[in-house]
Amino acid sequence: MSKAVELKQGQNQLFTDPDADRAREFFRHKSRAMANKVTTAEEAVKTLIKDGDYITIGGFGANRIPTAILHEIVRQKKKNLGFAGHTATHDFQILIAGECIDRLDVAYIIGLEARGLSPHARRAVESGNIKLTEWTNATLSWRIKAAAMGLSFLPARNIMGTDTFKYSAAKEIICPFTGQKYVAHPALYPDFAAIHVHECDVYGNAHVYGASVSDQDLAKAAKRVVITTERIISNDKIRQHPEATFIPFWCVDAVIEVPYGSYPGNMPYEYFSDEEYLKQWLNVEKDPAEFNKFFKKQIIDTKNFNEYLDMNGGIEQMIKLRAIEHLTEKK
């Protein structure tokens, strides 16, 4: 039945190795000890990312993003990174401005959803200097899930027949039971992932509230995982509700306590996104020279995330954003 069907494949480059045995060999030697992993963003980025790595960012663009890690990657001038653009908005905007990325698995880039498009990110992508392979949000979710499951691929029913498939690195296969054509999505085992969570213990056992996007799978799929957290909680709190554990410790390499760590993004139940600030970015990006100054001041010349927060209104601003999140702001 399958013989008669011509099986197509996407023509673009696969940036990561989907081989499950090689991934297993890595995971075999990854520490599973329940040890205290608390560190700083500076140290985590220094030791856990090297130039050329393929990285992924948790959350959803400007929702529950690990901003401190993104800034640190820029400040440490990490280069030639591969990146999964899985509804990447402000996270992508930062990394592309930092000239950190040279290849991209694209689902959604250069836009900030209802806020509009990023002029700088658009210039960078239209320059032709960045290698692009096309995917979709579901596809990147499933590629990450394939890795989380310890496989080299997962079948799915999307993208077939489109240019999204043509410029992907997916391949068609046939279901051996039904003869139905499927697309096989190659597993995505990133070298590194950073995920911002609501709370976790020093071992990395984490709670997350609200939409989880792909972060449970991402924590498993990535070889090295850094968690930034609004607050560190006791291990006892984790053990009180074992069904609520969102990421277990054995996935996690480093834990960093970063209150307001998703700023200027939204952190569900904690604070809303700073829409004025994000608008300012999009606006200043129109003029490359102005944007360079802005970016230098905001990120490159800033010592750390706390200094960045202070520069943008500090606790007072956070209190305002909390009120917006809780729909209690005075208008």
């Binding site: 836009g111 209802a114 498009l117 992508v125 239209e126 240019d163 939409a211 996104s273």
Partner: protein, 256 residues
């Protein structure tokens, strides 16, 4: 007759297509407004889903992102992206809405790029996001869009999201789930469906103030015409009142 703008008309028409008890994945903006309007008129048990994981929220405001806190405010579920996409893949989601820079006569949509070199596009857009997935996996895809001959074009530069591909059975032959596909294209001028055999775009209603020539002149490919074309039922006062007072009082969407 009530006074209204084209966006209000498109939202009202879209809302009427969302029957009670159905499921719909929406993005920010007009699709979200259409779903809210449907819930507040004839479809109280319409289930609204967002691709980042939120399901059936009680929306306190228009979301800025399909993953922001509003999308799971007092929701039935705050799940994950694979959860939503797999619910679509399993056949449990009836409707979705897409946007795009170009659309062709088979309802294929481009939201990736303009130009002929993928590696160095003339204009780059965000890409599929979840659009291809929802177009592939939901039963019926709809679109609300202003109509002009550049947007409605013979050959789009890039098929980001599948319509009926090259027509006929090509969509299902490509492997996409049987019975799915574009359902309604709602523009400022008309409402289009798709012809059953050829799967070509077909005008079924004409909006007040437009005629056949306007519609064909503002379309870069040859449209089919239903046997009985009726006038679009314009927005009712009740719909407009709810849309303006309850759905989008700040006119974020209908003020565009």
């Amino acid at each position: 007759m009530a006074d209204y703008n084209p966006m209000e008309l498109m939202i009202c028409v879209a809302a009427r297509n969302l029957e009670d008890g159905a499921t719909v994945v929406v993005g920010t903006g007009a699709p979200c407004a259409a779903a809210m309007l449907a819930q507040k008129t004839h479809s109280p048990s319409l289930t609204v889903m967002f691709e980042a994981g939120g399901v059936a929220p009680i929306l306190p405001a228009m979301p800025i992102s399909v993953g922001d806190s509003r999308t799971f405010h007092r929701a039935i579920m705050a799940s994950s992206m694979p959860e939503i996409m797999e619910t679509c893949q399993r056949g449990m989601v009836d409707y979705t809405f897409l946007g795009g820079a170009q659309i062709d006569m088979y309802g294929n949509i481009n939201s990736t790029m303009i130009g002929d070199n993928h590696a160095k596009p003339k204009v780059r857009f965000p890409g599929s996001g979840g659009a291809n997935d929802l177009a592939s996996l939901c039963w019926r895809m709809m679109m609300m869009t202003p109509q002009d001959a550049k947007r409605f074009t013979e050959k789009i530069n890039f098929i980001t999201s599948p319509g009926y591909l090259t027509g006929g059975n090509s969509r299902y032959d490509a492997g996409l789930p049987k019975g799915t596909g574009p359902y309604r294209i709602i523009t400022n001028m008309a409402i289009m469906g798709f012809e059953e055999e050829s799967k070509r775009m077909k005008v079924i209603n004409i909006n007040p103030g437009y005629n056949r020539k306007d519609i064909q002149d503002n379309c870069g490919f040859e449209l089919l015409w239903a046997d009985k074309i009726t006038d679009t039922d314009p927005p009712h006062e009740n719909e407009l009142r709810i849309l303006r007072e309850e759905v989008d009082p700040q006119r974020y969407i209908i003020g565009r």
